[in-house]
C-alpha cells in the first residue's frame, strides 16, 4: 500500500515537471516573444526591447524557465506584462470561486446520478429504466453552455426565480451567494449527472450478476436489499474513477459557464488574459489548471485501493 502510494506520488511529480516544461515551451518558445504579443504587432522594436529587459525576457529560455518554476514553488506566479500587477492574488481569488462552483456541481451530480442510475438498473426492463437511460443519453449531448442558456430563459427570464448573472461572495451575504449559485451549478451538474447515471447503471448491472449477490438472494434477501447490503460498495469503484475524471472536466467546463453568468472565476481570468494577450498570466493559470487536474487524478489513484481491497492486496 505504501509503496503503491509512493509510486503514484513519484509519477505525479514527474508528470507535473513535464507538464510545466510543455506549458512553458508552448507559451515562451513557439510564438517567439511574449513582449511582442503583449504590445501588439505595431509596437516599435525599442518598446519591445524595453519591455523584454524590464521582465527579464532577454534572458535565455532555460534561466527564464527556472525563474518561473522557482517563483511558483515560492507561491509567486510573476507579474503581468499587461497590467503590471502581481498574478498570484488574482489566481488565488479566482480559483476559490471556481472551486466552489465545481465542488458544488460534482456533489449535485453524484446526488442526482447515484439513485437514478441504481433505479435505472433495477428497473432495467421497465419503462422507467428505459426512460432514465434515454434521458441520460440526451443529457450527455447537451453542452453545459446550452443547458445554461435554457435554464436562464426558463428560470430567470420567464419565471424570475433566479438572477440571470452575477456573483456574491459567501461573506457578503449567504442568501445572495446561494441564489446566484443555483443556475451555474445546475448547468454544470446536469451533463455530468447524465454521464454518471450511465456509469452507475452499468456498474450496478455488473454487480447484480455477481455470485455474492446470487448467494445473498438465495439466503432470502430481496434484490434491492442484496444490492444495498452487498452491492453498492462494489458498484462505487468505477463510479469514483469517473467522478474524478469529471471533476477535471468540470474545471475546464466552468470556463464557459463563468463567462455566461459573469462569475469572477479562474476561467473568466483565463479568457480575459487571452483577450488581453497577457501570456504570463495565461501561462500561470494554465499551469494551475493542469496542476489541479493532476492532483485530482492522483487522489483518485490513491482512493482506488482504499475502496477496493482487491487492489490493495494485489500491490
Amino acid at each position: 500500500m505504501i509503496s503503491y502510494v509512493a509510486n503514484r506520488a513519484i509519477q505525479f511529480v514527474l508528470a507535473l515537471i513535464v507538464a510545466s516544461v510543455v506549458v512553458f515551451a508552448l507559451m515562451s518558445i513557439l510564438p517567439g516573444n511574449a513582449a511582442q504579443v503583449a504590445l501588439g504587432t505595431n509596437a516599435t522594436p525599442e518598446a519591445v526591447a524595453a519591455l523584454e529587459a524590464q521582465y527579464g525576457l532577454d534572458q535565455p529560455p532555460l534561466i527564464r524557465y527556472f525563474d518561473w518554476v522557482g517563483g511558483m514553488l515560492a507561491g509567486d506566479f510573476g507579474t503581468s506584462y499587461v497590467t503590471g500587477a502581481p498574478i498570484t492574488p488574482v489566481i488565488l481569488a479566482s480559483v476559490q470561486v471556481t472551486g466552489i462552483l465545481v465542488i458544488a456541481a460534482i456533489i449535485l451530480a453524484i446526488v442526482i446520478a447515484v439513485p437514478l442510475g441504481t433505479f435505472a438498473a433495477l428497473e432495467q426492463r421497465n419503462w422507467i429504466g428505459v426512460t432514465i437511460s434515454a434521458l441520460s443519453q440526451i443529457g450527455i449531448a447537451v453542452p453545459n453552455f446550452l443547458a445554461a442558456i435554457i435554464l436562464v430563459i426558463v428560470f430567470s427570464l420567464t419565471l424570475g426565480w433566479f438572477p440571470s448573472q452575477g456573483w456574491m461572495a459567501p461573506v457578503e451575504g449567504l442568501g445572495g451567494f446561494l441564489i446566484r449559485l443555483v443556475l451555474p451549478v445546475v448547468s454544470l451538474a446536469l451533463v455530468q449527472a447524465a454521464i454518471l447515471t450511465r456509469y452507475m447503471r452499468s456498474a450496478v448491472l455488473d454487480v447484480m450478476r455477481e455470485d455474492y449477490i446470487r448467494t445473498a438472494r438465495a439466503k432470502g434477501l430481496t434484490r434491492t436489499k442484496a444490492l444495498f447490503v452487498h452491492g453498492l460498495r462494489n458498484a462505487a469503484i468505477p463510479v469514483i474513477t469517473v467522478a474524478g475524471v469529471q471533476l477535471a472536466t468540470l474545471l475546464v467546463g466552468a470556463v464557459i459557464i463563468e463567462q455566461i453568468f459573469v462569475i469572477p472565476g479562474i476561467g473568466s481570468e483565463l479568457v480575459r488574459s487571452v483577450a488581453n494577450r497577457d501570456l504570463v498570466t495565461v501561462q500561470g493559470i494554465v499551469m494551475v489548471l493542469v496542476l489541479l487536474v493532476l492532483v485530482i487524478n492522483f487522489i483518485v489513484d490513491v482512493l482506488y485501493p482504499i475502496v477496493d481491497p482487491r487492489i490493495r492486496n494485489a500491490s
Partner: protein, 300 residues
Amino acid sequence: MSENPSTTSAGEASVDRRRRTKLRLNSSMIIGGVLILLIVALALVSFIWTPYGPSAVDPVARLRPSSPEHLFGTDRFGRDTLTWIMYGARITLMVGIVAVGIAVLIGTPIGIVAAVFAQYPWGTWLGAVIMRANDILLAFPALLLAIVFAAVYQPGTGPAMVAVGIAAIPGFARVARSGTMQVLGSEYVRAARASNRSVPAIAIVHVLPNIASMVIVQASVAFAISVLAEAGLSFLGLGTQAPVPSWGRMLQESQQFLSTQPELALWPGLFIALAVLGFNLLGDGLRDRFDPKMEARGNG
C-alpha cells in the same frame, strides 16, 4: 472483446468473422447514423443552395421568429438563421474530421509501437515511457489546449482543429495499445512468431485489421468531443471568427436577445446537441455491435 481470438477456437473464429461481415444494425446506430447524415446533408446542400446568402441582410426583418420566408427566423441583422445553420454544419464537420484525423494518424501508431516495444526485453521501459507521456497529455483537456493555442497564435478555426486533435491523441493511443497487446498475446500470433515472423511484420498483418473496430468506436466518440470543443471555443470567441458562420458563435451572439428572441439560441443549440448525440449514439451502437457481450448485457 469478442474478437480476442485467444478465447475462441479456430472454428469459432471463422463463425465470428462471418457474423462480423454481415452488417447488423441496432437502434443506437440507426438513430446516430440518421442524425449524422442529416448534418452532413445540411453541409453538402449548403454548397449548392441555401435559402439566402450567408451575408444577405434584411433590415426590415430583424430578430423575426420562424415564418414561411425564414423557416428558423432571422438574427439581429436580419440574416436567415437556417442559412447560417447550414453553413455552420460545414465548420462543425470540418473541425471534427481534421481533429479526429490528426488524433487517429498520430495516436494509433503511438499505441501500436508502445505495445510492440513491450514485446521485447529491451523495449519494455520504452513502451512504458511512451504511455506515461501519453498520460501526461491527458492532463490537457481539449478546451484548455485550444484556449492556449488561441492565446499563442491568433484565435481561429485552424489552431482550434489542431489543438482538439492533439488533445484526442491519448485516447487513440490507449485503445490501440490495449488492442495490440491483446492481438500479440493471442495463439495465432504466437504461432506466427514461432515461424520466425518479426513482431513489426505481425503487427501490420494481424494487428491493424483487428484493432480497426476499436479505433472506429474511439473516432466516433472523439468526433462528439471535438464538436463540443469547437462550439465551446467559438462560444468564448476563441474559435471560428466572424464572418464565418459557426454554431457556437451563433449561440454566443444570441445571448443578448434571450429575453426578446429566445429562438435565436434554440436553433444553434439544438443542432450542436443533435450532432453530439448523433456521434455518441453511433459510437455506442458500434461498440455494442463489435462486442456482442455488451449487447447481451443490455448496456447502452
